[in-house]
């Protein structure tokens, strides 16, 4: 055990390309950082920015969104939607004091297991440098103030 900070990262993969890339990385026994919890969506276009905010408010330090390369989306051009959402979301996050680098978009085809593994490891290192986001903790601190309220109300 070292004392180094191990970031928690939520990864959203699309069913057709990037999830298969991660699968390939796994079956090929490629080594990559184990910090990412993957959630499979049918398409990166299903990525509702709410998911990212939920992840960050629930304790994630970073979010990785992955999809098929532009032009290769199984649903024709939904990954462009993901791209546009991602770019606007990053601007909104910056306004909330969250480093936009905490959210990353990666294109990976089903054959790109190695790319998936390398990008994941690189992202984990970037987040490690940024340090913990701790959003869950800071907001909990505030709700502590209101804790006794509910008791009082019930009385």
């Amino acid at each position: 055990m070292t004392d180094q900070f191990e970031p928690t990262i939520i990864g959203f993969t699309c069913n057709w390309c990037s999830y298969r890339a991660s699968d390939l990385a796994g079956t090929a026994r490629m080594k990559y950082a184990p910090n990412v919890r993957l959630i499979r969506l049918m398409c990166s276009g299903r990525l509702d920015p709410t998911f990212v905010l939920r992840a960050l408010s629930g304790g994630a330090d970073g979010v990785m969104i992955t999809g098929c390369h532009p032009g290769e989306c199984h649903y024709i051009e939904q990954n462009y939607k993901a791209l546009r959402r991602f770019l606007l979301l990053r601007r909104v996050l910056a306004g909330l004091g969250i480093e936009p680098e905490r959210v990353k978009l990666v294109w990976a085809s089903a054959a790109e297991g190695a790319r998936f593994a390398a990008e994941t490891t690189a992202f984990v290192e970037e987040i490690r440098k940024l340090g913990p986001l701790n959003w869950g903790k800071v907001s909990d601190e505030l709700s502590e103030i209101s804790e006794p309220v509910h008791e009082e109300v019930a009385a």
Binding site: L87, L88, L89, G95, L96
Partner: protein, 332 residues
């Protein structure tokens, strides 16, 4: 004030608010007489003289209906919210401030220290000796206290249990009148209350649904401020004209008041039914109209929204998933 022990009791209170919600209630015109005829108004600082101690002396649960407007910004707001919760059977988060933070909630983008500094020591404020308010101050007569500001503004339901939410900045008069009517019917046994936690006095769809403007395929190459467009097409969807209109994510109920008269919806009715995070829904809505696939071009188009965080959370920041800027959260 009616003195009739048998009538159900009514209260209204303002915490961190602008007072517009109170005016909106008075603006229900002759319906206000129904309030007086059917309720015993026991506490309503803007309309009548009553003291906190009068409320403290009331039996718990003895007020039937309290309309609470304003967010919780300081310890006095918090104290009265808890007090009124205890005394009231039905507590309504009234208006956008109480429901989701509203404009005062935008202060959650800044740490408290900065807010106080801006208010008391900027070029518009002559304060050469840097005098700032203190929570307590000793004078010969004793200790003077002013409320202590909390680090972020919270919607009412983050502080006490809330029975109903009534959105709007302020809620529309016809909606207020309908809610007053409903409560009177409930008192008479002619109607039932909606399930606890419901949004009342609003629709369950989006402002776009009520908007009279024509919609085709929305694709835009540029976002623009409405004042920079001349002339604005009076019949075409504003978003389609490149004006960031918050209608697609906003709850219906105002009859699309703003787009109806040529201004974009800025979102005062809060998130539409089923929307967990208002800003996230707007990010999706705005992204889907952008007609570009290259990151550089998308970024150029997004530059047309100069304050994206304020744009997508103008009314909802304090009620959003993240609720505040990181710096504001962290301040001790």
């Amino acid at each position: 004030m009616t003195v009739n022990g048998n009538k159900p009791k009514f209260a209204m209170y303002w915490a961190a608010s602008c007072g517009g919600c109170e005016i909106a209630v008075l603006n229900i015109h002759e319906k206000i007489l129904d309030v007086d005829a059917n309720f015993d108004v026991v506490f309503w600082p803007v309309a009548m003289d009553a003291k906190y101690k009068d409320v403290e002396a009331m039996e718990d649960g003895s007020i039937l209906l309290t309309l609470f407007n304003g967010g919780i910004r300081n310890d006095e707001n918090e104290h009265i919210a808890k007090l009124l919760r205890r005394k009231s059977k039905i507590l309504v988060a009234f208006g956008s401030c109480a429901s989701e933070g509203c404009i005062p909630g935008l202060a959650n983008l800044s740490p408290v220290g900065e807010i106080v500094h801006t208010a008391f020591n900027t070029i518009t404020t002559d304060n050469p000796n840097e005098i700032y308010p203190r929570v307590s101050f000793d004078v010969p007569e004793g200790e003077l206290r002013i409320p202590k500001i909390e680090k972020v503004l919270r919607p009412l339901d983050l502080v006490v249990d809330v029975d109903y939410y009534m959105p709007g900045c302020p809620p529309e008069s016809h909606q207020i009148a309908a809610v007053v009517d409903l409560v009177i019917k409930v008192v008479k046994g002619e109607a039932e209350l909606p399930p606890k936690g419901s949004v009342i006095g609003a629709g369950d769809s989006t402002v776009c649904d009520e908007c009279p403007r024509a919609r085709n395929v929305k694709i835009i190459k540029e976002f623009k401020r409405i004042q920079d467009i001349a002339p604005v097409d009076p019949t075409l969807c504003l978003l389609e004209q490149g004006i960031p209109c918050n209608g697609p994510a906003t709850r219906s109920g105002c009859n699309a008041r703003c787009p109806g008269v040529g201004a974009q919806c800025i979102g005062c009715y809060g998130p539409a039914e089923g929307v967990m995070d208002y800003g996230a829904r707007l990010i999706t809505a705005f992204s889907s109209v952008i007609d570009a696939t290259e990151p550089e071009e998308i970024d150029r188009i997004l530059d047309g929204i100069p304050d994206p965080t304020g744009q997508v959370y103008r009314f909802n920041l304090a009620g959003s998933l993240l609720k505040a800027n990181r710096e504001a959260w962290k301040v001790k």
